[in-house]
Amino acid sequence: MKKLIKEIVETFGPSGREDEIRKKISKYMKPHVDEIKEDNMGNLICIKKGDGPKIMVAAHMDEIGVITTHVTKKGFLRFSSVGGVSPVRCLYQRVVFENNVKGIIGTEPVDKLSNLDFDKLFIDIGAKDKEEAREMLGEGMFGAFMNNYEELNDLMVAKSMDDRIGCAVAIKAAEKLQETDNEIYFVFTTQEEVGLRGAKVSAYNLEPDLGIAIDVTGSGDTPEAPKMPMKLRNGVAIKVKDSSVLVPRKVKDFLINTAEKNNIDYQLEVLRYGGTDAGAINLTKSGIMSGVLSIPTRYIHSVSEVLSKSDVNATIELLTKALESDISSII
């Protein structure tokens, strides 16, 4: 599993430019499903056929990133964020662009860190002047942050655990899945970070009976962290709410019961901010039942997102059992 996670967290794929990561995930999913297709938004839809209810598993494969907006007179690039990127977390990070050009994020002098915003930041690609910068990169190019996979004790660290870890969980669940009547759509969605757009489109087209999103969530176990019940190493987090969805009670209870029946460590997730694909699925067409399994994660949307292996394993386990369950009572 380490090899799988390392490979997919280190792969390029900011929102709107998910081609490389889609190819990699497709390769991993192929042996475990009956059909694989791609839609106009670039969502990767992997289908395990069945005669029963339709369950959509959504894990977003896009990552936060940057987009170049201006070439300056001195040959640096101004940029904007793709998804929820904080200016402070950008400082002196390395980025790689869709044409493989690499750069470093620098800043104009600022008195106070709180004055730092994207207007002050720029990307240094080593160009000698404006013309060379334009030739090397130009405007409207998408970039992603760079960082390697590492392990700290029993914890895993990487950029874009959000939500490549969800992709890894879905891949492992597809691999472990026993026979079931349920028809399962493993959807690796695009453009989640810019507004759940891929999930919106795939749910609209697939019309599942139940949607389950797999994503990261916050964790309240670092010094002076905002108060929240989730902690690393306490198991898979079953979502109660975030800003995008109030998980229907039937779905939440179904996930809790499945965890208890199978002795899987779980905790409840109550998130004051943030959203997931489940929010988009929930409001599709006439309303679709949806829930979320989350992996508690420290430093989300930084280049070093940290989470626990045991929580990942619990998430794989619970997702697999949920997909094998008779869901007729909740839909």
Binding site: T69, S80, E139, G140, G195, V201
Partner: protein, 150 residues
């Protein structure tokens, strides 16, 4: 081809939100006036404006509501190059358009083409006649050669 003049865009893309279901298009091109920022900058910052007047129609790579579909973006670029029509990119990623609520209905490939306008959302907006003409020209040629997208 269906030409649609939408209502209530300025209050939240409302008119367009019912469109996708009614027209059920295979592709969508939206037209907009967008910010031309080529006006005096008191700070003289090392930066460049969102779009510039007289530099041709602006193609949107990404804004707040949409990431432009690459197939259509490429087609517009190819068309402009083939017929020698000037074009630029909309460089800022702010602002939203009707496309935002259209493309998410099933994933309809969409793109925005804008004519640069100075002082947008002010009582006087200024545009260059030749940008307008080039936007029209680019659109006509892009639609004429549309089979290259298919």
């Amino acid at each position: 081809m269906t030409a649609v003049f939408t209502v209530q865009e300025e209050v939240g893309l409302r008119g367009a939100s019912v469109l996708a279901e009614r027209v059920n298009p295979d592709y969508v091109i939206a037209f907009e006036g967008t910010t031309a920022g080529d006006v005096p900058d008191p700070d003289n910052r090392d930066d460049s404006p969102s779009t510039e007047m007289r530099k041709g129609p602006a193609i949107t790579v990404m804004d707040r509501t949409t990431i432009g579909f690459r197939k259509l973006k490429k087609h517009l670029e190819n068309t402009a190059n083939k017929y020698d029509i000037p074009y630029q990119y909309k460089r800022s990623v702010t602002g939203g358009t009707d496309i935002g609520v259209i493309h998410t209905k099933g994933g309809i490939p969409s793109i925005v083409v804008s004519t640069p306008v100075r002082y947008i959302h002010a009582p006087r907006g200024i545009m260059a006649t030749k940008d307008y003409k080039n936007t029209v020209e680019l659109t006509i040629k892009a639609l004429k050669d549309f089979e290259e997208v298919l």
